[in-house]
């Protein structure tokens, strides 16, 4: 099974499995069954087995999945067994919250640069990095070797910044601004919009009780 043949929906669930497996590990469960894992993740056992079967034959019939081995395997498929470098663009309300988020480091992501356009912020040291001028993006990104960018910029400038990041060699963008990016293919984009999520919730409320 080639990794390219793993369904998108499965890929999106792998980080969830990983989180639950790490939790199982802290509770000292050496082995986990598809149904136990399903319960932890809020899915069902056949879904778990199907998903994991795309990665290879990782379980033992009659027993279950070895937690440590499965963690290692999923990490490898996700490419987080080696450290991945990211730039954070936009050090406003969201940007500063993100920089301190421990979840990134725990999963092997390192924020190696922070860019902003505000002269009062540029040059300030935040955490382990110093805020750089977004105008120097073209030199900072290649210098740090970052492949991923996290965009927490004002909507109006986001498309332009994304295009420059792509040109500077960034190959994955996590966009928190409420803007649809249009970029050459070859750059993966994940869009997160909290306002969108609330609207989906609102729809469910509007459906009335059940």
């Amino acid at each position: 099974m080639d990794r390219r043949d793993i369904p998108d929906t499965t890929i999106q669930r792998l980080p969830l499995y990983l989180r639950c497996l790490l939790e199982a590990q802290t509770v000292r469960m050496p082995v986990v069954s598809s149904s136990a894992l399903a319960e932890m993740c809020g899915t069902n056992a056949p879904q778990v087995r199907k998903d994991l079967s795309y990665l290879g034959e990782l379980g033992t019939r009659g027993i279950g999945y070895d937690v440590e081995a499965l963690i290692a395997h999923i990490s490898g498929v996700l490419g987080i067994d080696e450290r991945r470098r990211a730039v954070l663009v936009g050090y406003g309300r969201f940007g500063s919250a993100l920089l301190g988020y421990p979840g990134f480091g725990e999963r092997g992501f390192e924020i190696v640069a922070v860019l902003d356009s505000d002269p009062t912020k540029i040059g300030t040291r935040v955490g382990d990095v110093t805020i750089s001028d977004v105008r120097e993006l073209e030199s900072v990104v290649p210098a740090t070797g970052a492949e991923i960018a996290i965009l927490a910029t004002p909507a109006a400038v986001t498309q332009a910044v994304a295009a420059r990041l792509a040109a500077a060699g960034i190959r994955g963008i996590l966009n928190l601004a409420p803007v649809t990016l249009s970029l050459a293919n070859g750059v993966a984009v994940r869009q997160v919009c909290l306002s969108t999520e609330l609207q989906v919730l609102s729809f469910h409320l509007a459906q009335g009780p059940l």
Copy 2:
């Protein structure tokens, strides 16, 4: 067509359409075609037509969709034509960033209470509200009439807080903590996890060029 028959995938795209339509409105486009809307959203024209057709016959053949009428209609379906009240639980890094986020207000959401457990924060005025003690959740939530909760709490306490919110009458939860919630059905949950998103991007990078 009953609203209950609208596919989930369509519902998730409605906020996106809404954003693009509002943008069209600021550019003074009175009418928009399915292909124009598709380009703005990064989808394709048949997808747009199919999605909108679930809401009724909203377009005019030969012409397109009336922007203002379509905004009104989608807002109605999403239930954001009336103001929706939300509680924010957890006033840490993320929580404080969220409170100031203008996108919520723009879409008809109002944060009517903020809850935290830190005694140094409780009683502090932030924006238009005063931070309440999370222990008073059971009285604060009914008093404000909030239906939605935004959870930006530490992972360890999130499941317990969610269960209490559900018991207090909350019917929709936007969960930012990296925890799978298990709740009685009747409560809609949307999970947002930035760490998960980065891992999905990492997978795409790991696939190598193309």
